[in-house]
Amino acid sequence: MADRLSLVVFSGTVDKLYPVAIMASGGVALGKDVEIFVTFYGLEAFRKGNPQKNMKMDVNYPEVGPMMMKVMMAKKMPSWYDMLVQAKEMGNIKVHACATTYDLMDMKKEDLDPIVDDVIGVTEFLSRASEGGITLFL
C-alpha cells in the first residue's frame, strides 16, 4: 500500500482550507505523498486570484469566525495558501482539479491557480486514493 494521504476538498471557505494546508504539511512532514482533489467550492477557491482574495468563512460559526481571523492575524499565521505552497516545496503534493466541476464551469487551464497540477476525473482520483492509507473529506 502506498504511503499516501488523499484529501477531497469540497469546501471553499478559509476555515476549511486551513486544515487542508495543515494536514498536507503534516503529511509531507511524515514522508507521505499527498493527493488533493479540489471539487465544487473547493475548486473555486483554487481559481486564479481567489487564494489571495478569498476571505469567506463558514456561516454556521458567525460568533467564532471573525475572532479566529483576528487571532490568526495577531499571531501572524501565514495564509492557508502560503502554507500549502511551503508544504509543496517540502514534499510530494499534487493538487488535482475535479474534471466534473472544471467542465461544468467551462474552465480553462489558465483559469486555475498555478498550484493546481492537473485536471483529473473522479475515477482516476479514487484509483489513486484506494492505493493509499488515508482519505479525508473536507
Binding site: 492537473d118 485536471v119 483529473i120 476525473g121 475515477t123
Partner: protein, 82 residues
Amino acid sequence: MNATEGVSAADRVLDTRGLLCPYPYIQARQALEALPPGSRLEILTDSEPTAMSSVPILCEQNGYTFTRTKEGDLWRLVVARP
C-alpha cells in the same frame, strides 16, 4: 445529457460530448464490456479531462490500449479491447 452512437472504422462509436465526469467513464466501460474481445470502441469527447484522465485510467485498469487524436475541440479515442 445522453450519449449517442454511430458507426466508424471502429466496431462501435460512443459520442460522449456534453457529458460530465464520471458518465463518459461509465458509458465507455459499459460499451467496452458489451463488446467481444478484439473489438475497438471509438469514443468522442469534448472534455479534455475525459480524454486525458478518465479514458486512460479505464484502459489502465482493464489492460486496454488506446490511441488519442484531437481535431479542434474534439478528441477521438480509439480503445482496443484485447
